[in-house]
Amino acid sequence: MPKLVPVNQTRVTFLSRSVNEGYARAVLAAFLTQLDPTVPQLADIKTAVSEAVTNCIVHAYPGTLGPVQMDITLFEGGVVRVVVRDRGVGIEDVARAMEPLYTTGDPEERAGLGFAVMQSFMDSVRVASRPGHGTRVTLVRQLERRA
């Protein structure tokens, strides 16, 4: 793969309040309009980012609030990279957390599908976490050219 050349970038930081899940999707959609994505492509990326942001809000700061940062970078050739990070409790066992149906949330109400959705809707999903320091999720998707 040739070296990716960034053409545009934005960063937002917000508190880990659940109302900001919609805010993060709105920022993403607004920033991606410059690429003129198809409706299904935009829906995929919005869904994956919604999952990543929701993970921060549900898991990163138990019983309190903290910052969630989202960086969106557009590269030449229609490659979109979204990095969602928090400074929360981190994940002890990333491989286990990424297993479908695994959740440390309320098993009656949380499906445990967040990472499965991200992997299904994006080309690549990377998770880096340090317990006690936070978690960084990197999502990449190549937009196909319109026919």
Partner: protein, 98 residues
């Protein structure tokens, strides 16, 4: 922002969902649906997704949670009118719809 309105008939309750269903919205929707179910005790609870413009896996959690709850009360849950984006999420969760 998501909303729900209800149509009840003898033995059935249909919840018409509209808007964006994420973790934030699911919390309020859950409370509203459960309150109606507790009052009406339907044999069949139908969730209608025709007006849903966005749904992430929180919607799956909402469906599974309601299914367990109505099942514990001796009833059943069905899903209807799921648009493509909702259907993709249901497929991923292996939830069957008619």
């Amino acid at each position: 922002m998501a909303k729900v309105h209800f149509v009840a008939a003898p033995g059935t309750l249909t919840a018409y969902l509209t808007g964006e269903i994420d973790h934030h919205a699911a919390q309020a929707l859950r409370r509203e649906i459960d309150a109606q179910v507790d009052i009406r005790l339907p044999e069949l609870l139908t969730l209608d997704f025709a007006g849903v413009t966005f749904m992430d896996s929180s919607g799956v959690g909402l469906i599974l949670g309601r299914s367990r709850r109505i099942g514990a009360l001796g009833g059943q849950l069905t899903i209807q009118s799921a648009p493509t984006n909702v259907r993709r999420m249901l497929d991923l969760a292996h939830i069957h719809y008619v």
